[in-house]
């Protein structure tokens, strides 16, 4: 595939690796934020080929993984209702809630449907005026414009049977929460390329300046990650702390204005609970008053649902990068992709699943 395969060239990958080895003169710790980046790194074994002193920490870049337990329980409560068609991205289906998960609910007769795009959820609502259709809107800023358009479309079509369970999270507040943490060891970030395709990178400039950390906007293919790591290492060796753009073919400084306009019309910034991290102010999105009628939490009265985490699951520390999956006593034994205890083992982009599927032990 054009603009994809070229960035998987093994010969060029080895040149980048060699350059990283030649450039890195000290120990450095770099965090990649996005789950898609973690996936490539672990699947290709890139972190094992880096110089011993360059350590990659996998950040909370999997929106599935950071969805709080109570949000899953809210989804389950809504999906269990006989009048509801519950639609979701595939990733959410096997995430365990307190008692069950969407797949099990589906097996017991709930109408749970996987959709590839939120517009399909709107189509289903338009096609079934006699049923309530709920869409589980999970994701980072990358997905928010799509979810915003779904709401706008539903409004334009005058649909009264469509609503969204919103669990959106924003990246920059998570980065600062990690940087503010007493245990923080991260010295540079690879910012999520597709988040930045939407948002641009202006939000990262004050972070780089204030915390004196290099931030490199990076893509998702092996060459992108290696080049991003090389650029970060160069900055670290030089003592610079700037925002650079490795993913120049897809990201511009101002991002996608049309997308952000739609987001701003439909969503407002709010406090969000991050699974394993806790509440982070101004780190999530909820529907604006103009579109509050599409809020599934309100429609189904599930706003007050709370939940307790499984004590064996160290998802929080995994997501903050203070522990790796192999540090967890449950990893590979009690907790496997077959019967996961927490989200990072269920989601294909979750750190624990990525490790397990690559056979790390």
């Amino acid at each position: 595939m054009k603009y994809l395969d070229e960035y998987r060239d093994p010969v060029l990958a080895r040149r980048l690796l060699a350059d990283i080895h030649a450039t890195a003169g000290h120990k450095w710790t770099i965090m990649e934020v996005c789950g898609g980046q973690t996936h490539t790194i672990v699947r290709q074994g890139i972190d094992e080929l880096l110089p011993a002193g360059v350590r990659m920490i996998h950040g909370p870049g999997c929106p599935v993984c950071v969805t709080p337990l109570e949000m899953i329980d809210k989804a389950l409560a809504i999906a269990a209702r006989p009048d509801v068609i519950f639609t979701s991205f595939g990733d959410m289906l096997r995430v365990p809630g307190s008692a069950t998960d969407l797949v099990s609910l589906k097996a017991r007769g709930a109408d749970v449907r996987v959709v590839y795009t939120p517009l399909d959820a709107v189509r289903i609502a338009a096609a079934h005026p006699d049923r309530q259709v709920v869409f589980f809107a999970v994701g980072f800023e990358t997905t928010a414009p799509a979810n915003a358009m779904a709401v706008l479309r539903a409004a334009a079509l005058g649909l009264s049977n469509f609503s969204m369970l919103v669990s959106h999270v924003l990246v920059p507040p998570a980065m600062t929460a990690i940087l503010d943490s007493a245990d923080n060891e991260v010295q540079a970030f690879l910012a999520a390329g597709h988040v930045c395709a939407v948002m641009g990178w202006t939000e990262y400039e004050p972070i780089a300046a204030r915390y004196r950390v290099p931030i490199v906007v990076t893509g998702f293919e092996p060459l992108d990650l290696l080049e991003g790591i090389l650029m970060a290492v160069r900055q670290l060796e030089d003592g610079r702390h700037e925002v650079e753009n490795q993913y120049a073919r897809a990201v511009r400084r101002d991002g996608n204005t049309a997308a952000r306009d739609a987001m701003r019309a439909v969503f407002q910034v709010s406090t969000r609970l991050w699974r394993g991290i806790g509440p982070i102010p101004a780190s999530g999105l909820t529907l604006t008053p103009d579109f509050a009628r599409f809020d599934a939490e309100r429609r189904y009265g599930v706003a007050a649902v709370t939940a307790d985490e499984n004590p064996a699951c160290i998802a929080g520390q995994i997501l903050q990068g203070t522990k790796i999956p192999t540090d967890c006593t449950a990893y590979g034994t009690l907790c496997t992709p077959r019967h996961p205890l927490g989200a990072p083992m269920v989601s294909a982009e979750g750190t624990c699943a990525a490790f397990h599927n690559a056979g790390r032990s």
Binding site: M1, Q44, G359
Partner: protein, 351 residues
């Protein structure tokens, strides 16, 4: 009651949809068999409870190779084939993977009340066509009808039987360290073809299922390599990764693969990229992997390449004594990772 509008109380013969009555062993069923199923399959002669099959050998064989399988794929028709063709090829291939020359197939249908009779006819015609192509006979059959909702349209079960190819000693437990791992062709086509017609994922692609019988290819391989062909498997559900893991486990050998050698067609790679799937876990229906001793590997590869079902055959790795039961792969950037089996269900019912 107006005599002019009264409808006749005698049961009408349903010509369009399968009824429960079609499975009840009476006249309706006889009509279905005689009118739809038998003509398509070319079954003649008295209707017996069991078939007597002349295996056409004058002694020498004291073993019959037998396999059974069920086919529940939806959609039942997909780019490149349908459930009928899949049923025949899948059964033939199971036998071939054990080193058999397939001889015959027993066929059984479980039909959901309401299935279109035309569809039943079309599927049966596919079965007949695939059987003819593969040189096997459908020798026995059964039909049951269950109530609406008790089955998803049509389920097909088969039992196939055959005789061991002379000079073959093939078993999943037979792979040896140093064996070369050969693949007969590109992977991921069947699963991706099925996905492309699934509603909720809907995309257009020029991808057709690779369903095909492989017994002839296997015969050519055994001809060339004899007992050096140690193990065979056709990677269906769970994909290449699962098949190799099973063989590694059963034979207690390790497997090392070269990622860049594994043939993944561009369209399959694109579909997998689009959906976030691993081509190694996607189902296939027309390729096989073989573990062949190193001295014979080249001869077997040449024989495969000369055969239409194997013209894209190539080596993708080897068996090793290290890490028995584990499959490791050298990634395109030169690192290694473990290739695991598919966990849980990737797709509902693709074969």
């Amino acid at each position: 009651m107006d005599p002019l509008t009264a409808t006749c109380p005698m049961p009408q013969t349903e010509t369009e949809r399968v009824l429960l009555g079609h499975g009840s062993g009476g006249r309706l069923m006889a009509e279905l068999l005689a009118g739809v199923i038998e003509p398509e399959l070319g079954l003649t002669g008295p209707a017996e409870d069991a078939a007597v099959v002349d295996l056409g050998v004058a002694g020498g064989h004291d073993e019959v190779i037998v396999s059974t399988d069920a086919f529940v794929v939806t959609p039942r028709v997909f780019p490149g084939g349908d459930i009928g063709e899949l049923a025949v090829n899948g059964t033939v291939n199971d036998l071939a993977m054990r080193g058999a020359r397939p001889v015959g197939i027993c066929l059984s249908y479980i039909v959901e009340e309401g299935l279109g009779i035309e569809e039943l006819r079309t599927v049966t015609a596919s079965v007949a066509r695939a059987a003819r192509s593969a040189g096997v006979r459908v020798v026995s059959g059964d039909t049951k009808v269950v109530g609406r909702g008790a089955a998803d349209g049509l389920y097909v079960t088969t039992t196939g039987f055959g005789l061991g190819l002379p000079g073959a000693r093939i078993s999943a437990a037979n792979a040896q360290p140093e064996d070369v791992v050969l693949i007969s062709g590109p992977i991921g086509l069947h699963g991706t073809a099925i996905l492309s017609v699934r509603e909720n994922l809907g995309f257009e692609a020029e991808i057709a299922s690779d369903t095909r019988p492989l017994h002839d290819l296997v015969a050519a391989m055994v001809d060339a390599g004899g007992v050096s062909v140690h193990a065979l498997r056709d990677p269906t559900r769970g994909g290449l990764a699962s098949a190799l893991n099973e063989l590694a486990e059963t034979s207690a050998v390790g497997v090392e693969l070269d990622e860049s050698a594994i043939p993944v067609p561009g369209t399959v790679a694109a579909a997998c990229d689009l959906l976030g799937l691993d081509p190694l876990h996607v189902a296939n229906e027309g390729c096989l992997v073989a573990f062949v001793s190193p001295e014979a590997a080249l001869d077997v590869l040449v024989a495969m390449r000369a055969h239409p079902a194997g013209h894209q055959a190539r080596p993708i790795g080897r068996a090793v004594a290290a890490h028995p039961g584990r499959v490791r792969m050298y990634t395109t950037v030169g690192a290694t990772r473990v290739v695991d089996m598919l966990v849980g269900e990737q797709l509902p019912r693709i074969c």
